[in-house]
Symmetry: C2
Subunit: 445 residues, 2 copies
């Protein structure tokens, strides 16, 4: 079923046929399909989705289309969709909508839901509280396995996951029971007997990345969220954790290329927004590159006397810049996936010093030989470039590995200290080293 076919069927008023074919489409694909339709057709098609799938399909759609639908649906239709949506999806929706739409949505939810929504929305952006869901299965320690399974049967349909149940006593989380252990245990046992009391939890105010890490590290399907008092308030499910992981990697890659990260997709971001995300860093880097230019100006006499010196500038700048970004990228990613910790700082620096020794001497030798051959066996020139490479590459790797760790130490995002910034820092240093060695070696300049 393509968007074009749907439009044709809608024009022919073949509603039943559309309804039937929708039943076979996964809600994620259905959402994508609807987004391709023109506005009026999208609204018509949405009304033809089965009651069970409508809310899920709606949750999968982009904010722009969600807003069109909210504004087009009748009070009764809207209420039906909102009733079937999970609270975390409704909270996401509210965050994206303009004030008048938010009002309309809230007026169609009951008081208890409104209270829970306000709770979720009150947590800071990027905190665990803002992505958690409050719909989970809670059990009492004294319940039997049989009673627990019956409870799951009763409330399961409204819970985002039933595969991990939470054992609560006086609002405190005291254990977890998986559906697997309920299914394979004797029906007469109590929850207390089969529960796992060594639980991994996360706090509402922790960074959402922390939650994603824990889900990934311990292979969880859902992670319980507790508040400051240790009371259970919600769960983070593995699908939300995957989304956080993907978004965080995207943010890092974007930042590492000196672009302010955007929450929207590439095409969902306007041209001016794109430009606004890119210009600030470019300006900063441009002005600092000017500094490198000023260093060069200082050595005008040197390259006027020996113009060949200028032709090595791009190679020296690029190579040291590349070495710096290589180490910074490895360190930034290593810290992001919890492979490198701040306490390892000295170990990292010692490793990079040794890597730099191997890398810089290889590059120096290869380049030295090339220059010796190309420039009429000028040993001094070959030696100058080789020595400069050893110094600049070593310095570049040290700067490349230290700056991201320093940023983390200062609670900044290490991804800021990637290629663009490192390159600019390293460039100035490389030029300075290059001309210092050159003027020392060639007294005539």
């Amino acid at each position: 079923m393509t968007a074009k076919e749907i439009c044709e069927l809608l024009a022919e008023k073949q509603y039943k046929k559309i309804k039937e074919s929708f039943a076979d489409v996964n809600v994620v694909d259905l959402a994508e399909l609807l987004e391709e339709l023109p506005e009026r057709q999208m609204i018509m098609a949405f009304r033809l989705i089965g009651k069970e799938e409508a809310a899920e399909t709606f949750s999968c759609m982009e904010p722009r289309e969600q807003q069109i639908l909210v504004e087009a649906l009748t009070e009764r239709e809207l209420r039906a969709v909102l009733d079937d949506m999970f609270l975390d999806d409704t909270a996401d929706l509210l965050e994206e909508m303009p004030a008048n739409v938010v009002e309309r949505i809230l007026s169609n939810t009951d008081a208890e839901t409104r209270r829970q929504l306000n709770q979720i929305l009150s947590y800071p952006d990027d905190s665990v509280g803002s992505i958690m869901t409050v719909e989970y299965v809670d059990l009492k320690p004294s319940m039997t396995v049989k009673a627990s399974l019956e409870k799951i049967r009763r409330v399961g349909i409204d819970s985002e996951t039933i595969y991990t149940c939470y054992v609560i006593q006086n609002k405190k989380l005291i254990g977890i029971v998986t559906a697997k252990s309920l299914l394979i245990s004797d029906e007469r046992k109590t929850v207390e007997e089969i529960m796992e009391s060594n639980i991994i939890t996360v706090n509402t105010h922790d960074d959402q990345e922390t939650a994603a890490h824990l889900v990934r590290k311990y292979g969880l399907i859902a992670l319980p969220v507790v508040d400051k008092e240790g009371c259970m308030v919600g769960i983070v499910t593995v699908d939300d954790a995957m989304e956080v992981m993907e978004d965080e990697a995207t943010e890092d890659i974007t930042l590492m290329a000196a672009v302010a990260p955007s929450e929207d997709s590439y095409f969902g971001t306007s041209v001016f927004r794109h430009a606004r995300n890119r210009i600030p860093w470019l300006l900063v880097l441009m002005l600092s590159a000017t500094f490198t230019g000023m260093i060069i100006s200082k050595y005008e006499a040197a390259f006027s006397a020996l113009p060949v010196l200028v032709s090595f500038i791009p190679m020296l700048m690029d190579t040291s810049g590349n070495c710096g970004s290589q180490s910074s990228a490895l360190i930034i990613r290593g810290m992001a996936i919890d492979d490198i910790h701040l306490r390892d700082a000295l170990k990292v620096i010692w490793k990079e010093v040794r890597v730099a020794a191997v890398v810089s001497s290889t590059l120096a030798v290869v380049n030295g030989i090339r220059i010796y051959i190309q420039y009429g066996q000028d040993l001094r020139l070959a030696f100058l470039i080789g020595l400069t490479l050893v110094c600049t590459v070593t310095l570049a790797e040290l700067i490349g590995c230290s700056l991201p760790m320093l940023a983390k130490r200062c609670k900044l995002d290490p991804a800021l200290m990637a290629a663009p910034l490192i390159t600019t820092c390293v460039d100035a240093a490389a030029i300075l080293i290059y001309f210092s060695i050159a003027t020392a070696m060639f007294p005539q300049i």
Copy 2:
């Protein structure tokens, strides 16, 4: 419990105390704890882990420690661990071990397991087949819900997930049933009545990234894997999908910084291995930067006559390089998360042209003003640099967005076309544009 405490307790032969405290530790943490111990103590401590947790802890450990353990355990101990391990973990283990250890492991598994292991190991690296697990719950369409739940109770303990069960007829996958729907459905219904027949599957030979994408996109807990004939052969679970997602993001970030990706951790990679991963690209980029140097040499007369020209080289090179890497990073990541497709190529280029217009004119104006003020109201110089910036930035953004798409078109990894390579290409172009405009504008040089 810290590594030091364990060593002390081991020295005091307080085995019971260690055993008890191990019972409260999550297997992932236990594996990390054991890895911190000296070899002999690690082997002793491993023997104190409860039977149920031993295999899981072993699966979570690093290859180096796994090898030490395999070599130290008796045949009976090894068999016990292998029996409780999931097949995909055993396959991972075999891939990492030297030949003699592989032999020892295989001689301790039964014929059927060996056959399945060989099957998994025969799939290409990075294919879905190589990460799938063959332990899942299969149901027949005619089974009742009650019978299905009983089957789960019986075989569940040996399956990696029981939360999605697969309905098989003549070896073909015809539907899926979630544990949730089994639990909330009437016990007398048949599997056929409640199963979902619109299934998302993946092929054994597909890229593992495809599987991770599907799990992420559809929010799955497990994804069924079929062979060329459509017969069900295994599943990919969400925890493996998360691992693939993390590894692929790491690989992209590493490649984007011109480092050959390594499967090992930062500290797990030796200094020489690190150097070997970094040197090849550095050499290629260094030699191509030499090309930029040769272009500069051509204009020796120009900068001898007007030495101030040289001092703008770093700023022009850096700025255009940065613009190029900004667009390439956005496009590479956009393609990696399926946000940008090859069919959007023209749309991307048109968007980047407009972004380039805004970005380059802003940079040109800011820089023009600065130069006008700094260099004694030299309008011609300000205009030269401004015009060069407009040309080079536009070109850089076009190269930055096209090369990754071109790489994808040629079935190369788009991440290769990131900052380092783009910078080198753009540098040569920027220098050429700069001096061409300069010689045209300043006839005296």
